[in-house]
Symmetry: C2
Subunit: 339 residues, 2 copies
DNA sequence: TTGAAAGCGCTAACAA
DNA sequence: TTGTTAGCGCTTTCAA
């Protein structure tokens, strides 16, 4: 059986109280006693039962992450990367990371509710925030700690980290405009998603700066998967007057766009410029390499996690609202428009 | 504050024991009393504190998953998919999923150790098993519950699910041989990884069946990332007598191979056949679509999770050794060899 | 400097 | 059918 604090106490012939204090380095323990206890504990391979500690502490030392995924076969690098960012930071700060998946919808709030009511987590990290986000509304209403990747339309205010998608898309627009593109199509993400609006506005405004008006027929709604990029690009490219550039709202869809174009015999770059958003690792090694906007998801995960844990531990400094500036990554998938 | 079982007991004027029993649907409680209790609990929004339950039960109701990733920027769809498979099954069976990441090495066993000693998890799921796998050795030595995705060289036996990579690669070899390829290169995974050996053997044997001997110079070791597929393919294709087909040990590297080939002006399919392994969602929508071997990672995750929970709950039926039969998915990245 | 005792919220053996 | 009591492993007041 596992060795408990009781065993250690028995071994050194002291009370468990003293042992506990020694192990926590309280200074009202005789240094020699302390040493003796620590040694004994180490020898016996004692390690505190975290369940017991947590029950006593009334804190789960655990943060929750519910991945909002529709399909079971989800392969979005976004998730693995933010997971790593959050996970590593959590580990560093002594917290566990509890992960579950749940498609947006009825069930979703229930999932959060269960986790809260069972006292299984102390706070959540919300990803892929939506314009009207029931998760955020719910957590605010419960006054439960959370941080979010992305702003939302919520009346109330909360701690978040976001990337300036508006600026990001403006950079894309500018880049494309300077290359001479005037007929640009785009494959957006679902309008539920909060960043969609920012990116769309940025794209529009950016193009407007160059007197380019986006043709509404060239706007398609995707779902962030490669498949949807592929399908939508097909439709776009088969139109009578197809775009010379397609702006995808994430890298995965951009890959789909490239595939579709190539399947139709177009040379991406030359015949059609394609841009993504995220700069996932693959973007550098696609053919052609993808022009995109960097989004330091790993780092953001870490920031969100750290902010959250500070909130939980009560050493929060207000509600940070951090908006990161994106960078344009110019690669080979965009070229000057052909005449 | 949260409502506890004590509050409920007070409300209905009964002992907490009775409340506990009623809530667990014991049949030694007066039906009317039971009803009254259940109602009161619902009204008060009572939900048991799982920390307390777990402490008492001496079980964390949690399974651990330590993702063995080297780079923080890991975007392997494999991980997100198995995560979903495990997570959904765990949720269904009332278990939490604790995720952490740790690169293989010194630190790794420490991570497992901490989780075990703190009694934070009841079992682990091991992924990406290695030929001599310290994780498996350690868990066996601790007699701690786990299931693994993949066999290993361990003397002892343990519960696993694996896909028959030997057969999978044989299918690939046969497919390529029938297309007339005789000069085939390959980009393997690290030889530490257990499946590497099976796949390699399958490839060799499969080719041998068609009297094809693989040129040792055409074998490169990759690390399962797109980048390594890209770099290795470049080298392979720049050789004086380049291969007409390249077999990558996973889809991600296969994409890298395609990018490299295309960058060199080759038409994948026509000038160079490329195969992958995994059939990740993207494989269908790359250009050209990728010939590969399916591996139902999501399902495997679920199986591993279910097996593990059965073991934990003591209703295990021995140590299942499941080896799934793969299927060849023929797509456009492979064509008959040119003369 | 140390220990006894209470209590975190819950379950379960035993008694009534 | 219900309640009393002990205890899961730990921390922390309070008293000695």
């Amino acid at each position: 059986m596992k060795v408990t604090i009781k065993d250690v106490a028995k071994k050194v012939n002291l009370s468990i109280t003293t042992v506990s204090r020694a192990l926590h380095d309280y200074d009202d323990v005789n240094p020699e006693t302390k040493q003796r206890i620590i040694e004994a504990a180490r020898e016996m391979g004692y390690s505190p039962n975290s369940l017991a500690q947590r029950l006593q502490k009334q804190q789960a030392d655990t943060i929750g992450l519910v991945l909002p995924t529709f399909s079971p076969r989800f392969a979005d690098p976004f998730f693995s990367e933010i997971l790593a960012g959050i996970g590593n930071m959590a580990a560093e700060l002594g917290f566990d990371l509890l992960v579950s998946t749940c498609a947006p919808g009825e069930q979703e709030i229930e999932t959060y509710k269960n986790l809260i009511e069972g006292a299984r987590v102390d706070g959540f990290i919300i990803v892929r925030t939506r314009v009207f986000d029931p998760r955020i509304e719910y957590l605010l209403s419960q006054k439960f700690a959370f941080t979010a990747f992305g702003r939302s339309q919520s009346n109330s205010t909360y701690a978040y980290v976001d990337e300036d998608g508006y600026l990001g898309m403006k950079l894309i627009a500018e880049h494309l405009a300077k290359l001479g593109h005037t007929r640009v199509g785009c494959i957006t993400s679902n309008s539920d998603l909060n960043f969609t609006r920012f990116r769309m506005d940025g794209l529009r405004d950016g193009l407007t700066d160059y007197k380019i008006v986006i043709d509404e027929n060239l706007i398609r709604i995707g779902d962030l998967t490669q498949k949807s990029g592929y399908k939508n690009a097909f439709e776009l490219l088969q139109m009578p007057d197809p775009p010379t550039a397609i702006v995808a709202f994430n890298d995965l869809m951009a890959f789909g766009v490239m595939s579709a174009a190539q399947k139709m015999g177009l040379v991406v770059g030359k015949d059609l410029s394609v841009t993504g958003f995220d700069d996932i690792p693959m973007a550098e090694f696609s053919h052609p390499s993808l022009t995109t906007v960097s989004q330091p998801v790993y780092k953001i995960g870490g920031m969100l996690c750290e902010m959250l844990i500070k909130m939980i531990n009560g050493i929060s400094n207000g509600q940070p609202h951090i908006v990161l500036k994106p960078t344009l990554i110019e690669r080979k998938s965009t070229e000057a428009v052909k005449n």
